[in-house]
């Protein structure tokens, strides 16, 4: 593996270094131009360029090593990505009990089911150079769906406390009392993905297709494969949005069917009082 890596380095290093030097020269020229106009960013620019180059070389080395690993390494990378996505999405659910777990379960359910389905049907290969980038796209979209559904449900519930409690006071179970807000939260999480699918090929040509065409794949197959990826993103988002909103609804009511997400009831330490 490392021999292959070193070979790749030898082949590409000259071209990559030349391109990097070109980019740095252009940046320095712009810094010089700024200096002429009294904008002094020389020091910051030098630090940023050096850091950016060093970080990207490091990431490249790590990726090159990981992308030749086994399916287990791929699964670990995707699990780490899912956890990172859950951390990000849970920030939208501050004050909700176990928001990190809620986000993790929802994203893992949506992305996990879809990636497993794609692997089973052969739509996705176990080659990490394909699995990780495609998996990351699905996880990233599931993360957005999770954050959007959680945020929308919370906003709608806190804005309609009176209606929900009226429903409860008339003998409705929580799922009935909160039904309109459950539906709107799931729909809100799906809307961007539905728009994405609608505009596919018309407004944007995604990276996967562009990359496949550049690397010599049949453009028609590349187009269809891109559609499959975006459709799977929609499916993952739908599952994630549903699971996240279901879990959110469970946390929004106590076992005695009392609404716990109410302005003034959320605890200042970030947890809800039952």
């Amino acid at each position: 593996m490392f021999t292959e890596l070193l070979n790749n380095v030898n082949i590409d290093i000259g071209r990559g270094a030349a391109q990097a030097i070109g980019a740095i020269v252009l940046c320095l020229a712009v810094v010089g131009l700024c200096r002429r106009f009294g904008v002094h960013v020389e020091r910051e620019a030098a630090i940023s360029i050096a850091r950016g180059l060093a970080q990207m070389i490091f990431v490249g080395i790590v990726l090159a090593a990981l992308l030749h690993g086994s399916l287990l390494i791929g699964a670990l990378i995707l699990a780490a990505m899912t956890f990172a996505a859950a951390v990000t999405a849970s920030r939208r659910a501050r004050g909700v009990r176990d928001s990190l777990l809620l986000s993790f379960y929802a994203i893992a359910a949506g992305a996990g089911i879809v990636i497993a389905g794609m692997l089973t049907t052969g739509t996705l290969t176990t080659d990490l150079s394909v699995l990780v980038p495609v998996g990351s796209m699905i996880i990233a979209n599931a993360m957005n769906a999770c954050a959007q559904s959680v945020e929308r449900f919370r906003a709608d519930v806190t804005a309609h406390v009176g209606y929900i409690e009226t429903g409860l006071a008339l003998g409705a179970v929580p799922s009935v009392a909160a039904a309109p807000y459950f539906q709107s939260a799931v729909y809100a999480s799906l809307l961007p993905r539905l728009d994405m699918l609608k505009s596919l090929g018309l407004v944007w040509i995604p990276g996967v297709m562009a990359g496949m065409v550049v690397s010599g794949a049949n453009p028609i197959y590349a187009s269809i494969y891109q559609f499959v990826i975006v459709a799977m993103i929609l499916a993952a988002s739908a599952v994630t949005g549903l699971v996240a909103t279901l879990l959110m609804r469970t946390r929004a009511f106590s076992t005695a069917a009392q609404l716990t997400i109410r302005p003034g009831i959320e605890k200042r330490n970030g947890r809800l009082k039952p």
């Binding site: 009176g162 209606y163 409690e165 009226t166 429903g167 409860l168 006071a169 008339l170 003998g171 409705a172 179970v173 009935v176 106590s254 005695a256 069917a257 009392q258 609404l259 009831i265 605890k267 200042r268 009082k273 039952p274």
Partner: protein
């Protein structure tokens, strides 16, 4: 006879009884150690300054909030033994705003029975609407109702569940004087004819004088006094 047998033979008190009812939130006592009785066929006015805990007390009575101390007994039974949905059907609540669901008057009034898989007959629906002074309003869209009409629909919607108790949280505070008086008369009629247990939160002591049989004063979550309305309210005014 031993003590247990004697207590089993004792008549079950009809009505709602609170036993040392308390609720703390963030170490603040919203309701503190309140023990009162609400009896069938009489109206109990819950009076006190803003933020005294009147609404918090009412919300505890049908368990929209959970007591952190004490309990409530409905006809002698601890209300935590009842499923929340059944309890709330039996102890109906009318909020300060009507909070009508989008749709017609009929869809709103039918909501409660639907939760138990029941449907009101057209005769039952007509009788209910007539009772609250809304005969012929069934197919009206609720977005076209006045404040007074909306509050009547809200009352009819609660009555459709055939509750044994009615809790009203300042139901007339957003209405003009005429609509407010009409709701009061309606309420008095319903409580008397159905022998309903009734508690009404009001900041308006004149209104409490007009309709209440008994009154209780709450301040900072504590029960200050309870008794015949005139006596309690006159003493409260003097303070």
């Amino acid at each position: 006879m031993d003590k247990q047998t004697l207590s089993a033979l004792a008549p079950v008190p009809a009505g709602i009884e609170t036993e040392h009812l308390s609720r703390m939130v963030f170490d603040k006592a919203l309701v503190s150690d309140i023990s009162v009785q609400l009896r069938p066929g009489e109206i109990l006015a819950v009076v006190g300054p803003s933020g005294a805990g009147k609404s918090s007390f009412l919300r505890l009575l049908n368990r929209l909030d959970e007591p952190t101390g004490g309990t409530v007994r409905l006809n002698g039974q601890d209300y935590r033994e009842l499923p929340a949905q059944e309890l709330r059907r039996r102890i109906g609540m009318v909020m300060q705003s009507a909070f009508l669901f989008p749709g017609t008057v009929v869809t709103n009034v039918a909501f409660g029975p639907q939760q138990r898989g029941e449907t009101l007959t057209s005769e039952q629906m007509a009788a209910l609407l007539e009772r609250v002074g809304l005969a012929g309003y069934g197919e009206r869209d609720v977005s076209n109702l006045s404040g007074g009409e909306a509050q009547r629909v809200s009352l009819a919607r609660t009555l459709a569940n055939a509750p044994v108790a009615l809790l009203l949280d300042e139901p007339t505070s957003a209405l003009d004087e005429a609509s407010s008086r009409a709701i009061e008369e309606l309420l008095l009629g319903i409580v008397r004819e159905r022998q309903t247990i009734c508690a009404i939160v009001t900041h308006n002591t004149t209104q409490a004088h007009r309709i209440a049989d008994r009154a209780m004063i709450i301040e900072r979550g504590r029960l200050i006094s309870v008794g015949p309305a005139k006596e309690v309210l006159d003493a409260y005014k003097e303070v």
